[in-house]
């Protein structure tokens, strides 16, 4: 029996493991390309310092990568272990990008990461750079296929339901690949990863500069991070806007929830900068609105309306009523003992209402027998189709706010890099250090908005979440959840310990004698007076 407890625990376990995995992914995606840039500088200039930079940041990359791999396997297992009905119902489509990800991307990334670490002595400079590039390409292609799979969950194109096999089947592979939702999501997500990595390098380099350590090394790293980060943050913001645009076509519900748009506003709709959305009374208090902006972002026009939550819910009520007919017809079609005439009639009804089948399935949460459906139940199921507004509204605004803060940080960092006096701007360096954790918060918020906003569906409009789970006992779920939390807490502690340890040691951890405290005096002497290099390390 699929109890609410089982469904909630399955969701919690997926959310915990996915969001934990996503702590490591963004840094991998971005740092891989930063390594490519640093190593390209090495190959072009032949200067040892760029090789040292590649190796040092590569060491931190490796510490992060290990946990990315560890937690990634969980995701691959978990569709089968905990979402068995989902896996059956959409495996025909969803399995394909996952398998292609393995074949095209994960093999590439994982094979070449070994050569990246161990091939320095055995490969020419150019070949090693190629290895680094292929590793970065692999990790980013990996993200592409995962986000194609995820994009399909948000916007299930190119597939059709078959009542014989009782599942969704692929009809147009290229529609799945070039799904606009998936493509916008991919660029937005990898760019967010680039920003994360750029801020990681920028922040740690700033810390070295503030401490007056390994200055030459830190300043070069800072400049690369500033340029790479600025380009990436522009991409994040533009593609975030593009996600906002596509969301209006495929998932109006998500948009309405994250904007707190209860009513349909005459076009062009205003953008609510601040408000206290109240899910109980379905109103916003203290709303501060900017006219026109939402209409322009959401529809790229001044005359198209964006439907509000109440309008969407009313439409869904009708789709659920229609879906009831589809589910009833499907049950006759699946019944081995039904007579052929009844089946033929059912088939005609089914074809008419097929598009709303998923909406009819929403009622399975409340009744098994579709003949017992009442208007009250339909209204309840329709209310379920709207995710809670307040968490969506705030998570989205916090993410966007952080995005603009990153934009400002990288704009200053790039500006002073070009003027070549950033090492004097202690306020900027401190800002960068304190901001190191922020991209992770923004990434997790983005993930939350995308996935929580999809509820109550696993596949939007096709398969409700509560039908997707495996037939397990809640006891099994408590056990496995405890296991994951235990393992992951321990692993995170170990990872952070090593990351902090090596970040603090700095390039001296390479053990080549070119960096570290012994060089402190010599390096400090070549820095002009008044720079932070003169400060005592404990000042910061």
């Amino acid at each position: 029996m699929l109890t609410d407890e089982l469904v909630d625990l399955s969701r919690l376990q997926f959310a915990v493991t996915a969001m934990y995995h996503f702590l490591f992914v963004p840094l991998t995606l971005g740092l891989a390309f930063i390594l490519v840039i640093m190593e390209s500088c090495y190959v072009l200039t032949g200067r040892q310092i760029y090789k040292d930079m590649t190796q040092f940041w590569g060491k931190l990359f490796g510490i992060n990568f290990a946990l990315g791999v560890t937690t990634g396997i969980t995701m691959e297992f978990q569709f089968g272990t905990n979402w068995a009905y989902y896996s059956h119902y959409v495996g025909d489509i969803f399995g394909a990008p996952l398998a292609i990800e393995g074949l095209m991307a994960f093999f590439l990334e994982s094979t070449f990461i070994g050569l990246f670490f161990f091939g320095w002595e055995r490969l020419s400079k150019q070949k090693h750079l190629l290895v680094t590039f292929l590793m970065a390409l692999g990790s980013n292609l990996s993200a592409l296929w995962i986000l194609i799979a995820n994009g399909w969950m948000q916007d299930p194109v190119g597939a059709d339901f078959s009542y014989v096999t009782m599942r969704m089947e692929l009809t147009d592979f290229w529609a799945v690949v070039f799904n606009p939702t998936a493509q916008a999501k991919f660029v937005h997500t990898v760019s967010a990863g680039y920003v994360t990595a750029a801020l990681f390098v920028l922040g740690i380099s700033s810390w070295y500069i503030l401490k007056g350590r390994d200055l030459e090394f830190a300043k070069r790293s800072f400049r690369i991070a500033a340029a790479f980060g600025f380009a990436s943050v522009c991409s994040v913001i533009v593609l975030g806007d593009e996600s906002g645009y596509t969301v209006t076509k495929s998932q109006q519900t998500k948009l309405a929830a994250m904007e707190g748009m209860w009513e349909t506003h005459p076009a062009p709709a205003p953008f609510t900068l601040f408000a206290l959305p109240d899910d109980a009374t379905r109103t916003n208090r203290y709303a501060l609105e900017i006219p026109w902006v939402m209409g322009i972002i959401g529809t790229r026009s001044l005359d198209k309306e964006i439907p509000g939550i109440k309008a969407i819910e009313a439409e869904n009520r009708q789709r659920i009523a229609s879906g009831v007919q589809a589910v009833k017809a499907l049950e006759i079609l699946r019944d081995k003992h039904a007579d052929p005439a009844a089946k033929a009639a059912a088939q005609a009804v089914f074809e008419t209402h097929k598009a709303d089948l998923g909406f009819g399935l929403l009622l399975k949460k409340y009744v098994r027998d579709m003949n017992q459906v009442t208007p009250e139940l339909i209204a309840r199921a329709a209310a379920d189709t709207i995710p809670k507004v307040a968490p969506m509204f705030w998570a989205f605004r916090l993410m966007v706010g952080l995005g603009f803060a990153f934009f400002a940080l990288f704009a200053f960092a790039l500006y002073y890099s070009l003027k070549d006096n950033f090492s004097e701007k202690t306020w900027l360096l401190r800002w960068a250090v304190w901001f190191i954790p922020m991209p992770w918060i923004a990434c997790e918020l983005g993930w939350f908005v995308a996935e929580y906003g999809r509820q109550p569906w696993t596949i939007y409009g096709v398969l409700p979440t509560h039908l997707s789970v495996s037939s397990l006992t809640p006891e099994s779920l408590y056990g496995s959840l405890a296991g994951f939390v235990g393992f992951y807490t321990l692993l995170l502690a170990v990872e952070l310990y090593l990351m902090v340890k090596f970040a603090r040691q700095g390039p001296a951890s390479l053990g080549n004698g070119r960096y570290g405290d012994t060089r402190f005096a010599a390096q400090a002497s070549i820095v002009s007076p008044g720079t932070p290099a003169q400060r005592h390390p404990s000042d910061f």
Binding site: G80, G91, G102, F112, I113, L170, F487
Partner: protein, 378 residues
């Protein structure tokens, strides 16, 4: 487009290829992980052992991940039923695998002996547990697994985790573990010298012996197990519907395919010849050829289980008609064709660059190398 029935059969072969690929590639580094505490006595020796697979374990592990992804894409109902049914067994594999990436990458980053020996045992667990559990899983497949479907094709597993650990399944687990460890020992001989080479050689001989005896014993046992035989339905060319067939249990039924096509006896024959050949070559200190022999042995052993079960891939003991076969647990015609195309494009590329990576890193890992590369090596 190739016709549906042929594609279903191709996918049965391809899943086999992926499993064998996993056993050969990830198997050798898992074998090395299993041997780590036993063939290396001090820290430098252990680092030699770890660094023989250091540059490759991650790429090898993708055979496992891609195998899972391919089963998801090609046999979604098998993926759904097996992974949710074997819930705790799968989690045990997963949690054992957790120790590998962090074990390899973190172990030598800190010089503390307790830290290092903890990760060494972690690498042992990550190498030893997965092949053992996969063997146990195959042992249970041959006995049938208690599951059934409702009208909407929702799978229900009605057994317990502990029931999986029955004597026959444990025997299969032992065969799997021993063949993988022997294979790892061959690889370690190839990449090491001196004491580690000598100890690996001993381990290879012992493990090949255990695998050989266990495989033969399991063979006789299988001859007496009730095999599942389709008596009606399950048209290989039809749209897949696992509820549309009738199945009978026949003692010795798992030998039917061998009796019908006697040349198939060559498959278990390859398993036995590979194990004996591997042991002889290890004894003669020819690790490269021994590695090839143990690869063939694993092809034969995994192939034997596959051929015995065919067309079943996951028979049901509680409701035999719900048993999943290569004909009725598969994806749509279009998806099978698409994924076959993707495999044809990418598999040769993977084999090409993997070979290149091994070629770049070829040669013995020595104690001196570890001492000279204290900060860079694993």
């Amino acid at each position: 487009m190739i016709d549906y029935m042929t594609l279903k059969f191709i996918w049965w072969l391809l899943v086999g290829v992926l499993l064998v690929g996993f056993a050969i590639m990830d198997g050798h580094d898992m074998g090395v992980g299993t041997l780590l505490p036993f063939v290396a006595k001090d820290d430098v020796e252990r680092r030699v052992v770890i660094n023989t697979v250091g540059p490759h374990w991650d790429g090898n592990q993708v055979w496992f991940i891609t195998g899972g992804g391919a089963i998801f894409a090609a046999w979604p109902l098998v993926y759904a039923t097996a992974f949710s049914g074997f819930y705790w067994a799968m989690l045990a594999v997963l949690w054992a695998l957790f120790f590998r990436p962090v074990g390899f990458d973190y172990r030598s980053k800190i010089a503390n002996p307790t830290w290092r020996s903890t990760w060494d045992w972690g690498l042992f667990v990550g190498g030893f547990v997965p092949p053992l559990i996969f063997g146990v899983a195959f042992g249970n497949l041959l006995q049938g697994v208690p599951f059934h479907f409702d009208d909407t094709l929702r799978p229900f597993y009605t057994g317990s985790f502990w029931a999986l650990l029955n004597p026959f399944a444990l025997l299969c687990g032992m065969v799997s573990s021993a063949m993988i460890t022997a294979h790892g020992a061959h690889y370690l001989m190839l990449r090491s010298e001196g004491d580690i080479f000598a100890r690996s050689r001993t381990a290879a001989l012992i493990c090949a012996g255990i695998a050989l005896l266990g495989f033969i014993a399991a063979g006789f046992w299988v001859a007496h197990l009730p095999g599942h035989v389709i008596t009606a339905g399950a048209d290989p060319a039809a749209l897949p519907n696992p509820l549309d067939k009738q199945v009978a249990l026949v003692p010795g039924g798992w030998l039917h395919n061998f009796q019908r096509h006697p040349w198939l006896w060559g498959v278990p024959g390859l398993g036995i010849a590979g194990l004996i050949g591997g042991a002889l070559l290890a004894w003669a200190r020819r690790p490269g050829l021994a590695f090839i022999a143990s690869s063939l042995a694993m092809t034969g052993i995994i192939g034997t289980a596959g051929v015995a079960l065919f067309p079943f891939v996951m028979p049901s003991s509680s409701d035999p008609a719900s048993g999943l076969t290569a004909w009725d647990a598969v994806s749509s015609h279009f998806t099978l064709a698409l994924m076959f195309g993707a495999t044809l494009i990418f598999m040769p590329l993977i084999v090409f660059y993997t070979s290149w990576a091994y070629k770049v890193m070829a040669g013995k890992v020595t104690l001196d190398f570890i001492r000279a590369n204290d900060k860079q090596a694993y």
